[in-house]
Symmetry: C3
Subunit: 361 residues, 3 copies
């Protein structure tokens, strides 16, 4: 059916979405998929996530091929998803398998499907550079959602800002002393003056910062019986689809801060940042922490303070982006010493975006 | 006065409004015009409706020719409408007849007026293809607002969707089994499998569907003492400005479902759908129903359930359109068996739109 | 740092801001600057206002040169303003004087600063036509905030309308009889028929209107023991950045209405109207009034009624502009007798705007 005499949908204000593709991105947490379909947009593509009666997680284009109602307005039914307007039923491969009242189902009655893998309590979606490109590897493994030494919790934010501004924020934790004084901040000057070591291995960028002689910040004191001082570390790993941030502190003198097997209070953060559009993104995070044997179970308090902390970041980053939009091309950036890691991550994103664009052509 | 150094109003995002013109459209119900002017936009044109002291309904361009305040911000005064800024008074023909403090009223002190006819408790407005084109005929007659066998009530919705999506919805009632299970739905498969008969007479399209052996749905049971089964019918007539939908059911064996004079429970729906802009519309509806002699007066309950039902449609259609906008050109439509009537109506709208465009040139 | 692979901020819908520049505009009232920075946009430029520890009022571009966070999200600290993201500290001249954790502060670590003068309890900002253009004169002097015969109060509105629509409104007070009947209105015909005298001296336009034999309106009766009649006057002076409106009334027979030293009830209004964008503006107003020796202190009531009155104007003007946007080029204006003063003010604005544009090139 030609729909020419319907009002042509007006062009969106959002610039064309250029992102690294042929990549796994975090689509959500396993716990989000219950008996209702879930609508979410990734890299500019509207997707419906659902779990079949047999428990399989699936992802389809969020649009019935008949009259364009979002399939996420429909209902999960046995092996598939049924549209809520005229009842067309789709299987997890996107093929329509029933048109009520019509004997023949044409083969072109179908919608696009996406590779979706459930692993480590997370949902990973493969965003192809072009139709038919398939994953060459499994999604990344993340051990701390199933590790005996850690308890974890999670949360998510929708950001009115491009995904890379969150990379910038996380690749340089020196902002803690200005933005997060109520939770994990600590002394601003100590953070800014700490020696920072940046290394790169292929598309992974690592930033390590150590702050011996730190005063333990509020979250740390709530979770571990620190005295006046502690030895803090921050180890930040940038991967294209997510960052892994290992922060923590050990008591002065008791542990070697450089020992990979060190004890003390650990916070293992996963930060899955998935573009929604060119100007918005999803931020899926989890935080796993260790527990001191003499302290009561603290994970709920750690998660509460983490959520509070990450919300402070969201406020800052959304204000930053709004200002960038308003200043437009006049908003040039001056680099300072703390930007080394973030700028390397930007170059990785740029290179992989260009690769994707070339592979589209 | 040149107003060049005022900020030029920015161009609207809405595509140019192309509609069938030289047509009567529903502008509202008689009961809406009291002692206050009423602002409403039809086919992209801002109109103020008002009723003079003598009771005449009138329609003008909603803009004072002095400094552009909407005339709907003014007050009805005797034979005319007075602007709320500097007090210019307009008569129902759009001519300014008083400029306070100024002796002479220039002849160009005027605004556009519209042909407005009040008939069958409704207001019909003539939307010309070009200035000066006048109605060649009276507005359509609708008998069920003044019929001794029927009681009626009415309502209206503002839609964030183009008018034709409502045509599509109403021309194919097979969606009842998926969208309206709480009121007039009934068995989905029975609806989808029912034989549908589509005929056309000039610009009128008629869709008839009969469903003998139906289980009476909630609204029907609330209004008529049906047993387990009833014989349902749906007769839908598409006119350019409105649809007339005659639905109902008779008791099995007692009435010939094909008899035009048949009894039973009748619902006579008027659906006046008037474009507001290319992307929005007004939906003025009334519902008239018959009453069983052994049942208490039921029109209030019928209207309540009808309003609920039509609101379900609104939610679906607005989500559909939002998705069409977001998918843009990728949102092609696959036709199925139920679309025959709706597609014929679309061809009528397209033909009459092209006619109007040609007549403008 | 190139930020090319960040989403390019999309172009604003607002037309390019063309305004008279190399002018002092009202930026706010002294009382607004406490210990928090204040964000405000003038002539399309985002500005942060703050008061240093020593009490100096200052104005900078509202954007950190590092990563574009608004400086208004930061904190005032001693002699400067510290960014709330990574702690860069700026002095009132816009120079960054500290980058935490970095020894050297590059000279290009700076933002634009504005000339800001605090005078007569108001803040005046110089909006240059091009970088480096400096004020050739001090801001206008306004005596009625420090005058022994007057008490005053103030308020401000943000307008969703271009600044010149407020000029139009104030340069012709004949709308009082239609818009402000509850406060300062009075008899509509008397206002419209009053003789109006318009004079011009350079870029200043003056409109004088006298209405002997007026019935005192509610605000006047609340403030002065008028009898049945009074002799009202309106003297409106247009200056580019603000209007000074002297209205009032004296008792019939007791005072010469033409005597500049006349007594009676006086309202001295200052109306600082500063463009925010091409389509929005700030309206800073103050009202000073005299007091009758036999009446209780009335300034609070005068301010309350003035705020109510000005809010009525805002409603009308915003509706007017919305209508202008919607009618677009079809919204031509027909001039009537009361528009003489407003049209002169428009010509002043146009001439000074063209001068500024020429001076930019």
């Amino acid at each position: 059916m030609q729909i020419a005499n319907i009002a042509q949908p007006t062009s969106s204000k959002v610039p064309p979405a250029r992102f690294p593709r042929d990549q796994w991105y975090v689509a959500g947490f396993s716990s989000e998929l219950t008996d209702q379909p879930l609508a979410r947009t990734f890299l500019g593509e509207k997707v419906v996530l659902f779990r079949t009666g047999e428990g399989q997680a699936a992802a389809l284009e969020d649009r019935c091929c008949h009259r364009s109602l979002p399939l996420s307005c429909g209902t999960v039914e046995g092996e598939g998803l049924r549209c809520g307007y005229h009842g067309m039923l789709y299987n997890p491969a996107g093929q329509c398998i029933e048109i009520p009242g019509q004997e023949r189902v044409p083969s072109k009655a179908k919608v696009r499907s996406y590779h979706l893998v459930e692993q480590n309590k997370m949902l990973w979606i493969w965003m192809p550079a072009r139709e038919g490109s398939t994953p060459g590897s499994a999604p990344p493994v993340y051990p701390f959602h199933e590790h005996p030494n850690y308890k974890w919790g999670s949360g998510m934010y929708h950001y009115q800002a491009p995904w890379q501004l969150i990379h910038d924020n996380l690749m340089d934790l020196s902002h803690l002393g200005y933005v997060h004084l109520k939770t994990i901040g600590g002394n601003a000057k100590l953070h800014m003056n700490a020696k920072m070591n940046v290394t790169q291995d292929g598309d992974h960028v690592k930033v390590v910062r150590q702050m011996p002689g730190s005063t333990p910040p509020p979250t740390y004191k709530a979770a571990w019986p620190f005295g006046d001082k502690c030895e803090r570390w921050q180890e930040i790993e940038f991967h294209l689809s997510h960052l892994r941030i290992w922060t923590g502190a050990c008591e002065p003198g008791t542990d070697a801060i450089d020992d990979p097997q060190r004890g003390g209070f650990h916070m293992r953060g996963l930060h899955g940042i998935t573009p929604e559009t060119a100007e918005t993104c999803h931020y899926f995070w989890s935080m796993a922490s260790t527990r001191h044997p003499d302290m009561p179970e603290n994970i709920d308090e750690v998660i509460r303070q983490t959520a509070f902390t990450f919300d402070e970041d969201r406020v800052v980053i959304e204000k930053q982006y709004q200002n960038m939009r308003e200043f437009g091309e006049r908003a040039d950036w001056l680099d300072i010493h703390v930007d080394v890691g973030a700028n390397r991550a930007r170059r990785v994103v740029q290179r992989l975006t260009e690769l994707s664009e070339a592979s589209k052509a």
